[in-house]
């Protein structure tokens, strides 16, 4: 029988120009990996539906062990305080093979 383990799924929606910096911080704060999707939408800072490829939005999904989550969120909050537009939310998820999510990125 499959056993499921609780984990936290961190979702970030932001500009693709921030991608490298965010990946850097995932590495620093011990995420096991990340997935990036191209995204478009609209919010308080206007429409973000650029499909020309020059100025796009991304959505990043990261599963991160709960004990490493706070430091990660602090770093995101510092970016928001600087004025960057980040939409951040956390979802409770259940995963198979928790050891995969405890390992750090290579």
């Amino acid at each position: 029988m499959n056993r499921l383990y609780p984990e936290k799924l961190l979702n970030i929606i932001t500009i693709d120009a921030l991608e490298e910096k965010l990946v850097e911080s995932f590495r620093k704060y011990g995420a096991s990996g990340y997935t990036i999707l191209r995204a478009q939408g609209e919010g308080s800072s206007g429409v973000r539906s650029d499909m020309t490829g020059f100025d796009a939005n991304i959505m990043i999904k990261v599963i991160i062990p709960p004990e490493r989550l706070t430091a990660m969120l602090d770093s995101l909050e510092r970016k928001i305080n600087k004025g960057h537009h980040l939409t951040v939310f956390i979802v409770d998820v259940e995963v198979l093979s928790p050891e995969k999510f405890n390992a750090r990125m290579r």
């Binding site: 693709d16 120009a17 800072s45 206007g46 650029d50 499909m51 490829g53 100025d55 600087k82 004025g83």
Partner: protein, 345 residues
């Protein structure tokens, strides 16, 4: 009327058609990344072509053009910043971000100007192409410096307003300054290693040092299909610009006027520098005017999102893409050509 002959260029007509598809709310949607793919081709083709021609260029004139490209790139944003502050319609950081766009250049506008000159059979020098490559970057740096100054002014205002003795606030402020200085060097690096700069300069070098026989084989790719690709690119950019036109109400009439006045100032400066200082022909001076008049909508917006996140992107995108780009393509290019003609006599 020169403005009518410009409107009858296929490339410009496709640009207008692109805007029109938005006006009539057509369901036309371009596939993702098409404009990016086309712009890589356009920069590569114009770079190869220009580099090949510049291999026989006069080094002194080339260096002089580079110097004036830097001067324009550093001066135009400061002029724009002062005008924007005088309008009192935007904050300091918005003004810094917008003016960075106006100091930088739009390759799309430059290529349309080349199509215009080719079509009218007007000769032009190849040196403005080097200026196109140079002028992408300095304005980004000036924008960053203006923003850094603006942040200091805003922080000073805040600390004056707040009651003194709030040491915690002072501490977090100095933290922020450290982070910003660290990222300033990386932003400088980004400004000068920007993708379009690398494609353009790289292709120019390849065009300059390649064997003539090898370049000959490239002509179908570089020359024959160039205007067709430009039409396709302007078709999509017209579509994107049309979408931005809908945001006009958000920026207001005064800022919209800035989107027309600023290219006029740049264009006049460009004609003067092109004719009287760099000693170019009417065609060459028109190209310098177009460089000085155009506002970036490809390289600078992402750079400003990163460097001045506090600024409102709908201001600078609507101005550069929704107002200045269509203005230059439809009215500016023939106008600057006329101006250069009048001054050359």
């Amino acid at each position: 009327m020169p403005s009518i002959s410009n409107l009858l260029l296929p490339a410009v007509l496709f640009f207008v058609l692109g805007i029109f598809t938005r006006v009539i709310k057509s369901d036309l949607r371009f596939p993702p990344d098409l404009a990016k793919i086309l712009s890589i081709y356009l920069l590569m083709a114009i770079g190869l072509h220009g580099g090949n021609a510049l291999a026989k260029a006069d080094l002194f004139i080339a260096l002089n053009s580079v110097m004036w490209a830097f001067i324009l790139g550093f001066t135009l944003p400061i002029i724009g910043y002062l005008i924007l502050l005088a309008t009192r319609k935007v904050g300091l950081l918005d003004a810094a971000a917008i003016s960075a766009h106006y100091g930088s250049v739009s390759a799309g506008t430059f290529l349309t100007a080349i199509a215009y000159l080719d079509n009218a059979g007007i000769k032009y020098e190849d040196y403005p192409l080097i200026m196109l490559a140079i002028m992408e970057s300095p304005a980004i740096v000036v924008g960053l410096l203006l923003a850094a100054k603006a942040r200091r002014t805003i922080a000073a205002r805040k600390s004056k307003a707040a009651s003194h003795g709030d040491e915690k606030l002072a501490l977090t402020n100095s933290d922020n300054v450290d982070n910003e200085e660290a990222s300033f060097t990386s932003l400088l690096h980004d400004a000068f290693t920007n993708g379009s700069v690398v494609i353009l300069l790289g292709s120019m070098v390849i065009g300059a040092i390649s064997l003539p026989s090898g370049m000959e084989k490239l002509f179908p790719f570089v020359d024959d299909i160039f205007m067709g690709v430009l039409c396709l690119f302007l078709f999509e950019m017209g579509n994107v610009a049309g979408k931005r036109l809908g945001d006009l109400r958000q920026v207001g009439i005064v800022l919209a006027l800035f989107g027309i006045v600023m290219p006029l100032i740049g264009g006049v400066l460009g004609v003067y520098i092109g004719l009287n200082i760099l000693d170019f022909s009417v065609g060459g001076a028109t190209l310098v005017a177009v460089l000085a008049a155009s506002a970036s909508y490809i390289a600078v917006p992402p750079a400003m999102r990163l460097a001045i996140p506090e600024a409102n992107p709908s201001y600078y995108l609507t101005l550069s893409l929704g107002i200045t780009f269509p203005f230059n393509v439809i009215v500016g290019i023939p106008l600057f050509h006329k101006l250069a003609q009048l001054n050359a006599i």
